[in-house]
């Protein structure tokens, strides 16, 4: 990237809401149903039908608005955005134009070691379009209306991002918030989140924005990153060669890793917005707005900061836990018992527990493992009753069975031996059996110590205290 230029990025993000039904009719809102089975005269736009707005869509929109620190417009309305394309049977999309549900907010994101505040221009609710399936074997394009009328929120940011990395983090943070709030499946691979990316470049230090180009059809985190880098480089190259940039819309081709011109400014659509005559305005009760605000959970960025500042976790560990609702809820539930410290807990959550959940392709919350048993086991490690090796044996059991770790330790004789005379016997026998290693150690090859301690641990069947073995081994060799 040419460092004479600064990149300016704004994102328009569409997210499908996970309500039970569509936005204006009672058809099921589900992904992957048999084509054209969740359809009715309303969502297929037949003449004479009337839309009725789903209250959950408004509620979900307000939840997201609160999470993005927006002002909620309690008196709001809908508008028609007119355009002619086969994915829209009414030839207009019912959306919100001049009075969006939420506006003027911000989202703090963590980029590198910095907290960056990204302005949120607006958030509005609207309907999704039908899915076009381009199928040459049928000599045309097939239309599946199941997605038509699925509720969407569109979140428009200010042009506040200054790199592709920031835009990627912003999108990831938005996605995690949607999951935390439980208002969207937020699966990019199923198209439940899609982004349009606005990019311009300007000489470093310039106050005016450059010419803005919109890239559509970006549907993955890496796609957002690559689409921004590609477009910024394209613009810089044009400027460096003395060329002129035009306000235009381009389409991202993820497979090819490049964008192509979709339409120029002269061909820009004129959507002729006007108030939707089939829907009246509505006033959202203040109590509902306040109730939804009070119900807002702690969000991922706040969690990351709390894990770092109050739990002493590393930035990477804190973020990995916070960016997963599943991990974060489990971690918080364990911490709430007050029975174990955060550091060892985070190692287990990110290590063994995540490994098992991945292997079984399930969430941590779906494992039979209980919070109570896990924290009891960690407490046993922390008070040195069991070693890490013995803990693994305990874990293999409690991950599937609700058994008390203390009982397992007793039944299997897993308690760590801290009795010096028992440990000394083992150290002596390892020394006797490894004359060569001992000589190596004395000759200065002190890295054989690890091997010797390992031999001690093996003989003690994992029950010895490795720190004590190490100390006793050094003392024994030096005194021999």
């Amino acid at each position: 990237m040419n460092n004479k230029y600064e990149i300016v990025v704004g994102l328009e993000v569409h997210a499908e809401l996970s309500t039970k039904t569509k936005i204006f009719c009672g058809c099921k809102n589900e992904f992957g149903a048999e084509v054209n089975t969740n359809v009715c005269p309303v969502c297929m736009g037949l003449p004479g039908t009337l839309p009725v707005l789903n209250e959950k869509v408004v509620e979900y929109g307000i939840r997201m608005g609160h999470a993005l620190n927006c002002t909620i417009n309690r008196a709001t309305k809908h508008d028609r955005k007119n355009y002619f394309y086969a994915d829209l049977p009414k030839a207009y999309q019912t959306t919100q134009d001049d009075v969006p549900l939420c506006a003027n907010g911000y989202l703090d994101i963590l980029v590198g070691d910095e907290t960056r505040r990204i302005g949120i221009t607006r958030l509005h609710i609207e309907e999704d379009t039908a899915k076009l399936i381009h199928a040459d074997e049928f000599g045309g394009t097939l239309i599946d209306f199941n997605r038509c009328g699925v509720p969407l929120i569109e979140i428009v940011s200010e042009p506040d991002m200054r790199s592709a990395e920031e835009a990627k983090v912003y999108l990831e943070t938005l996605r995690t918030i949607l999951l935390y709030l439980g208002i969207s499946d937020a699966k990019m691979q199923e198209g439940s989140i899609r982004a349009d990316v606005n990019v311009s470049v300007r000489p470093v230090g310039a106050k005016e924005y450059g010419v803005r180009v919109e890239t559509k059809n970006v549907s993955s985190f890496s796609g957002v990153y690559n689409a921004i880098v590609y477009e910024a480089n394209r613009q810089i190259e044009v400027l460096e060669n003395g060329g002129e940039l035009f306000q235009e819309t381009r389409r991202w081709d993820d497979a090819a890793g490049k964008n192509v011109l979709m339409r120029s400014k002269e061909d820009a659509q004129d959507y002729r917005y006007f108030p939707e005559p089939d829907l009246l305005g509505y006033v959202i009760p203040e109590e509902l707005v306040e109730k939804l605000k009070a119900e807002l959970p702690e969000l991922p960025v706040q969690k990351t900061l709390r894990y770092m500042n109050e739990c002493g976790l590393s930035r990477a560990d804190a973020e990995t836990i916070a960016l997963s609702k599943d991990k974060a809820f489990f971690f918080d539930a364990c911490m709430a018992t007050g029975k174990c410290g955060p550091k060892l807990l985070s190692n287990w959550v990110l290590g063994e527990i995540t490994r098992v959940a991945n292997e079984r392709r399930c969430e941590i919350s779906e494992l039979p493992l209980t919070v109570e048993n896990l924290v009891d086991m960690i407490a046993l490690i922390e008070n040195k009753t069991i070693s890490n090796a013995a803990a693994k044996t305990v874990f293999e059991i409690i991950v599937d069975k609700d058994e008390k770790p203390a009982d397992i330790v007793k039944a299997k004789g897993l308690a760590q031996i801290s009795d010096t005379s028992a440990l000394q016997t083992i150290v002596d026998s390892v020394i006797a059996a490894n004359e060569k290693a001992i000589n190596d150690y004395k000759g200065g090859r002190t890295n054989v110590l690890g091997f010797l301690v390992g031999q001690c641990m093996k003989q003690s069947k994992g029950q010895g205290n490795p720190a004590m073995f190490k100390e006793m081994m050094i003392a024994a060799i030096e005194n021999s």
């Binding site: 089975t37 381009h134 045309g140 239309i143």
Partner: protein, 89 residues
Amino acid sequence: MKIDIRHIAKLSKLSIPEDQIERFEKEMQSIIQLVENLPEIEGKATAVDTENTMELRADEVVASASREDMLMNAPQVAAGCIVMPKVVE
């Protein structure tokens, strides 16, 4: 007011033969004259009318229509879908 028929045709995805352009220009001119006579509306027509509001619907599933019924009027159907001429925007 000058009307650019070629531009409008392009936006509407209509192909209009060259020898028809002049006719459409004339016809649309007269339509515009008609609309120009409408009175100017004062104030913001888009403000929300809070006196006359609508009830929202509970998020409850209502049985969808049958696919067979919904596709009955389609000129061409294949694989459970309406078929239309190939378009890529």
